[in-house]
């Protein structure tokens, strides 16, 4: 509230829309309505976390459960989401303090080459991931005897529908409403009636998954890849700025981020538990996105309700990820080109932003409809592609969060830096090991 004394610059519809949202936040804060304030300020953190509980991730969790049971991976999923929360908190804080997105800050502070590399790699990785999301929706819809055209139409229609509100607030609330259905995976877990003793025992990180060190490394890397990703960093920082968050909201931004991480971990473990119901029924054979058989296999083993809930969960997971990942692409495009990039802007004022949002979803939907397209290969490689960008994204996020000129007193404290650097190093190491291992298998230097 520092605009009163000076002459105001020309105001646009984006400023007015954002100020209306902020007026509600200020009202709630002044009147001491804590729950209302929480309700108004949650969003970017929960959406980033539940958006990453996407179709391929949930199938990956279920596959892990079906192959290895619960041991090790239940606590490991909790650890990975704790790591994600640390990274995402920095993105939220930088967005709230600077009011600028990740892409534009990297481009302006560290040079066009890094900015465009980040945006270009993000665009490609997001496109590949979006294709995988449409495949996940297709897998879920196939359970109800619906085809790929319905999956493609549903995904694109959702993007158009959420954009039609013309406001960040409306977009965020619609996607949050959809994201609540990520809880279907928890319902599926309850319905398969897991053995509580086994679940509690798994919290001791035992038993370790069988197989070679190489296999364990791949599983660890792919689980991290399902939790900490570049698009989440781009998305949460830009969405926090677009929402109009300020340094005064950082505490609520942290609550939002941790709430998202807890929900995502619980629902992800739900998919793991549901998949583990198939562990003694050759469930490991239903792997990857070829796992179109997951809902049907669950129906056979645990009843039709579980199959139906799991199939609906996959449709939700794919749909929410399409919306959030398309949004992160649009933010990155607008920020790097240097044009208006806000859900609060009109279609005419933010043509590139809205065009990128719809365009990337349309291209992914079109690829899914191409007969004979190597969808499985594309989907399985989405995480490998992200391994190049993730270390770069984390390094620049750390640099931004430590940039005193930008962040002032909101820079990372020493303890937070130690934790963040350790996480970035671990994630980079695991991701790089994953990329190197995949490469060595491709050139047949090691057995696949």
């Amino acid at each position: 509230m520092a605009t009163g004394e000076a002459v105001l610059p020309p105001l646009g519809s984006e400023d007015l829309a954002r100020s209306q949202d902020r007026s509600r936040v200020v009202d709630a804060r002044l009147s001491g309505h804590r729950l209302r304030l929480f309700w108004l300020l949650v969003g970017p953190g929960i959406l980033a976390m539940l958006g990453e509980n996407d179709g391929p991730s949930m199938i990956s969790y279920a596959t892990t459960g079906a192959t290895y049971g619960l041991g090790f991976f239940v606590p490991f999923v909790i650890v990975t989401f704790a790591m994600a929360a640390v990274c995402q908190e920095m993105a939220m804080r930088v967005g709230a303090v600077t009011h600028r997105g990740y892409g534009e800050l990297v481009l302006q502070r560290y040079g066009k080459a890094w900015g465009w590399f980040g945006a270009g790699d993000l665009l490609f990785t997001n496109l590949v991931t979006l294709i995988a999301e449409f495949v996940a929706i297709r897998v879920g819809l196939a359970y109800f005897h619906l085809g790929p055209k319905v999956a493609a139409a549903l995904g694109v229609a959702l993007v158009l529908f959420t954009l039609s509100g013309g406001r960040y607030w409306r977009w965020e609330r619609i996607v949050l409403g959809l994201a609540a259905f990520n809880g279907l995976f928890l319902v599926a877990a309850i319905l398969v009636k897991p053995h509580v003793g086994t679940l509690v025992h798994s919290l001791t990180f035992t038993p370790l998954p069988g197989g070679s060190l190489n296999t364990l490394l791949l599983l660890v890397a792919s689980t991290i890849g399902a939790t900490v990703t570049p698009w989440m960093i781009f998305f949460q920082q830009s969405a926090s700025a677009d929402k109009g968050m300020t340094p005064a909201d950082v505490r609520h931004g942290r609550i939002d981020t941790v709430t998202g991480a807890v929900l995502a971990a619980v629902f992800g473990i739900g998919a793991l538990i549901a998949g583990a119901a198939l562990a003694t029924h050759n469930g490991g054979a239903i792997n990857g996105l070829a796992g179109a058989g997951f809902p049907a296999a669950l129906r056979r083993v645990a009843g039709s309700a579980v199959g139906t809930v799991f199939a609906l969960g996959l449709i939700e997971a794919g749909a929410v990820a399409i919306l959030t990942i398309s949004a992160s692409t649009a933010y990155a495009a607008g920020e790097c080109i240097g044009v208006t990039h806000s859900f609060n802007s009109t279609w005419r004022a933010a043509a590139i932003f809205h065009g990128a949002n719809i365009g990337v979803a349309l291209v992914a939907a079109a690829v899914v409809l191409i007969p004979g397209a190597p969808l499985l290969s594309i989907a399985l490689n989405a995480n490998v592609l992200a391994t190049v960008l993730l270390p770069v994204a984390l390094v620049f996020l750390l640099m931004l969060a430590n940039d005193r000129e930008l962040m002032g007193r909101w820079v990372n404290r020493r303890a937070r830096n130690l934790v963040a650097v350790a996480i970035a190093a671990f994630v980079t190491l695991a991701g790089t090991a994953y990329a190197v291992d995949s490469f060595l298998q491709t050139i047949h230097a090691i057995p696949s």
Binding site: A2, D15, S19, Q108, R109, Y110, L380, N381, S438, F439
Partner: protein, 64 residues
Amino acid sequence: MTEPPDIDEELVMFLERDQLVADTSVPVSPAVLGRRVRLGLWALRGFVLVTSAMVIITFVSDLH
């Protein structure tokens, strides 16, 4: 007698000055990087080149 404030101006009071589009449209200045950071970024460039080559080969190979 002063004029009543314009409704738009009254609303915009809820925004911080540096939140206005007119302000966020102005680029921030490039960072002044120390020698160690510049060296680190060159190492990052090397990492990107090597891993990009590996990932592209893996990706293209898996498509076939």
